[in-house]
Each structure stands twice: as C-alpha cells, then as structure tokens.
C-alpha cells in the first residue's frame, strides 16, 4: 500500500494511468526501491546514492526537431551511468511554448528513463494554460493543487518547488493566453517581472520541514537559482531569501537548478547551489562577476549544434558530501576542474 502510493507519488505508475503522469518502462530495481516509503531520518547519515538531473529540453511542436534527439541522447546518457542513478529530477522547460504536444513528446521520450522521475515546472511549460497540461502530465495526482513536493530518499529530504510564478501582468492588458506565453518565452521579457514561489508554497515549505532535525540532509530543486545571479534574465527567485531563511536551520542544503543553461556554482550561508546543462542550447554568461569563476563551461562552437549541452548527475556521499558531474555532449566543453566533478 505504502509502496503503491509512493510510486504514484514518483510518477512512475503503470502505463495509461488516468492522471497521465509519467509512465513507461520503469522497472523497479533493488537500488531504486531502496528508501522508497521511508521517512526522513533524524540522523545525518546518508546511504550513498546517485541522482540524475535533466533540464531545459525546450521541445518544439515540430516533427523530428533536433532538440528531440538531444533529449533522447541525454536520456541514454543517464540510463548508461554507472552506478545507475536511483532517481531523476527534471528541472523544468520540457516544452518551448507550453503546448500539450510539446509536453506529450517530452513525456514520451522521458518514459525511456530506467529510473523514477520527479518533475518541477519551468516557465516554458507553464504560461500558455497556467500549467494545466503540465500538471496533468507531470504532477502526481496526490500533489494536484500545490506544485511543490518532498520526497525522502536514503536519508536525504528532497524538495521540489515551482519557482517561476510571476504576478499577473496580462489580465489588465487583456492579453491572450498566447500573448502571455509569448512574453514569457523571451528570456529578457521586459514585462514579466521577477518570479518566485510565492506565499502558498512558502507556507508549505515551512510546514514540510518543521519537524526535521537540523542534521537532516536537504536537497532542493527549483527551475531558477535561489540566489540573485542575473535578475534581468530571471536568473533569480524573488523569495529565495525567505526560502533560505526557512532552510537556515539545517547543517547543509544543496540547491540544484535549471533555467540558466550553463555550468555555474555559488554558496550562500548553508546552501550550495549548482546550475545544470540544458539539452537545447547554451547561454552566454551574464555580465556579472561570479564568486566561483573557475566553475564555468567553455565557449561553444556554433558549428557544433550539440556543443554546450548535456546531462548532469550528483553522487551523494555518506556525510552528505556531493559531487556534481556534468556529462557534456561534446568534448572540450568542460575545463578540467569541472570535468573532474565539482563539490556541491
């Protein structure tokens, strides 16, 4: 019973589930089942494991688009990792224009994953219908209405939140759904404003971690960074300070985020923070000084359409030490120190 609800929660129910959540070829393996159904332990001891992260596929509703193949390749990459990751988190922007056809295509490709998947939304998944299709396909039934989840695995408390909520800028202006999505589709949107998780999710987060002891290992997944990297491109989360405050009681918090389409690292207080490779296109570094400038990717070759992208995985150790490994599609993207894996 517990197992079933937990598997529902993971979105790895059998094919054709009414909720339409990610279904497919998932075959539970011994390692992927470990910890399922567990509760967060008060001890900081972690049973070492690996998780994978994919993000920013930006699939188009165009047949045989090259981004389809990139997502397929990233799925093959993480399926082939040794040891196989116990779980995969998809960090948002599966689609480009929030169309159900894009999300459907993504769901189909992601169903080839050989591990369970948890998903959070990106702005490109969301603003055509305010997340309706995304919720239908990627949010477990039990979570409808919230778009935030937590999941305990091998002693780690994992949290996922929808960080791309903007205040309504469309109703007053009488913009259509299509126009609203069109605005959000542009990174440098002049109208959208800073996005965040907003009050409801903050209240949920407070409650979710209230009973956890400070030595509980925490990993939080959001689409956007939980620090002010480059607000102009929404490389930020407006209520990140509140999130960090709620999580400040923990010894260590690992934050992993999409949206930036690049290797980037930061630390604030007890939080380490790492950005992810996309599977669509890379972004240039914003014109700001980084605290950890040596954790970057190299310039891309525009003639190599796969350059600048890939998948990522994190090896979590017994002391909640983590190593982020970037798996680039093309050689030479990563400087040696990054290719060797970065401590997170």
């Amino acid at each position: 019973m517990e197992k079933i609800s937990r598997r529902n929660f993971l979105g790895v129910t059998t094919k054709g589930a009414a909720a339409g959540i990610v279904a497919g070829t998932f075959a539970p393996t011994a390692s992927s089942m470990i910890g399922l159904g567990g509760v967060a332990s008060a001890s900081a001891k972690v049973k070492p494991f690996t998780f994978a992260v994919l993000t920013d596929a930006h699939l188009y509703d165009i047949p045989d688009h090259r981004f389809d193949a990139f997502l397929e390749e990233s799925v093959a990459q993480v399926n082939a990792l040794k040891p196989r990751p116990d779980i995969l988190i998809y960090a948002g922007d599966i689609g480009q224009f929030g169309k159900d056809a894009e999300l459907e295509k993504g769901q189909k490709i992601l169903s080839k994953l050989k591990m369970p998947m948890l998903v959070i939304p990106g702005e490109h998944d969301y603003y055509l219908d305010m997340g309706a299709d995304w919720r239908k396909r990627f949010l477990p039934k039990s979570k409808q209405g919230l778009e935030a989840w937590s999941h305990d695995h091998n002693g780690v408390h994992m949290i996922g939140m929808n960080s791309i909520l903007v205040r309504d800028f469309w109703t007053d202006k009488g913009l259509s759904d299509h126009d609203r999505m069109g605005w959000l589709e542009e990174l440098e949107c002049h109208r959208c404003g800073a996005w965040g998780v907003h009050e409801k999710q903050l209240a949920w987060l407070k409650k979710d971690v209230a009973k956890l002891s400070p030595d509980t290992p925490i990993i939080i997944f959001t689409h956007s960074p939980l620090w002010d990297y480059y607000p102009r491109w929404n490389f930020q989360t407006s209520d990140a300070p509140e999130i960090r405050a709620i999580l400040s009681k923990f010894d260590k918090v690992m934050s992993v985020h999409g949206h930036v389409h690049q290797v980037v690292y930061n630390e604030i207080g007890n939080m380490t923070s790492a950005g992810l490779l996309s599977t669509s296109w890379p972004w240039p570094y914003p014109p700001v000084e980084l605290t950890y400038p040596h954790i970057k990717m190299n310039r891309q070759n525009p003639g190599d359409f796969k350059d600048g992208m890939g998948s990522s995985s994190v090896a979590v150790g017994a002391d909640f030490d983590g190593v982020m490994n970037y798996h680039a599609f093309s050689a030479d993207l990563l400087p040696e120190n990054v290719a060797a894996g970065i401590a997170v």
């Binding site: 165009i62 002049h190 296109w281 914003p286 014109p287 525009p302 003639g303």
Partner: protein
C-alpha cells in the same frame, strides 16, 4: 548599393582634402531636427532588429533571441575577424548573422543591404554599444550589461 558606397567613399576623400586644406569641417555638424530624425531612424532600425531577433526566422522555430538574449555573444566589436565557423575567412558581422540564420535557424537569410539585414546588425551592435572595438577578439563570450528600461528606445518588446 555599390554606388552609394562609392559616393560615401568619395565624400570621405573630399572631407580629408578640405580638412587638410585648413577647413575645420567639410560640412556643418548635424544638429537639431536633422540629428533627431537621424537618431529616430536608427532607433527604428534597432527596434525592427529587436523584433526580427525575437521571432523564429526559419523552419526550426529558433529565433536569435533563444541563444543570444540581449544580443549577447554576438560580439560586433570583434568583427571583421577570421572565423573558424566560416573556414577561417575574415568575415563581417553580417556574415555570421547570415550563417546563424541559415545554418542554425534554418532560414533563407536576408539580402545584404536589405532593411532586415541592416536591422539585425543595428540591434546586435546597439545592444553591445560601449564595448571596446577589438578586431579579431576571440574570447569566451559573455553578455553585455544591458541599459534597459528608461532610455531604452520603445520597441514592441
């Protein structure tokens, strides 16, 4: 087009000749309404470029803005330069614009000298204004600090 360029070149020669002859200006500086009109015309081209930049130009849906937000990583200040993407030839900014249009975005491309091509160059260059001209610069690209909001010419974006 060629003729215009020739005229400009000739005017340049005349200007040098006159200034060498001791006159401060070959023509009066452009001021007042004429200067304002010229600036408006330029900003209209930038705005047109902004619009073209942010919509798909070809069959794969990819607009320049997908990968070059705020005109970043186009480095107008580094052109002309020898470009590995174009076989090491020395090329102008418009050659890379054209290459990205055709190869990356699967578009037909714009005729050189067309309003569209000039608008694309105007947008990219305008967004990178203030960058130091450094022909051949070949470094890890970054974005430019964008001076937007107040003072940024009103475009549809």
């Amino acid at each position: 087009m060629k003729n215009t360029m020739k005229n400009v070149a000739l005017a340049g020669v005349a200007a040098i000749a006159i200034s060498m002859a001791g006159s401060a200006f070959a023509a009066k500086p452009i001021v007042g309404q004429e200067a304002a009109d010229q600036f408006d015309a330029l900003m209209a081209a930038v705005a047109k470029g902004d619009n073209l930049w942010h919509v798909p130009q070809g069959s794969n849906g990819l607009g320049c803005g997908n990968c070059h937000p705020d005109g970043s990583a186009t480095q107008p200040e580094s052109f002309p330069k020898a470009h590995r993407t174009l076989g090491g030839r020395v090329v102008a900014l418009r050659d890379m614009v054209q290459w990205c249009l055709q190869a990356v975005s699967a578009a037909d491309g714009f005729d050189y000298g067309s309003d569209e091509m000039i608008a694309m160059e105007a947008y990219a260059t305008y967004m990178n204004r203030g960058a130091v001209i450094e022909l051949g610069k070949d470094v890890q690209t970054g974005a430019v600090p964008v001076i937007s909001g107040p003072g940024y010419p009103g475009t549809t974006h």
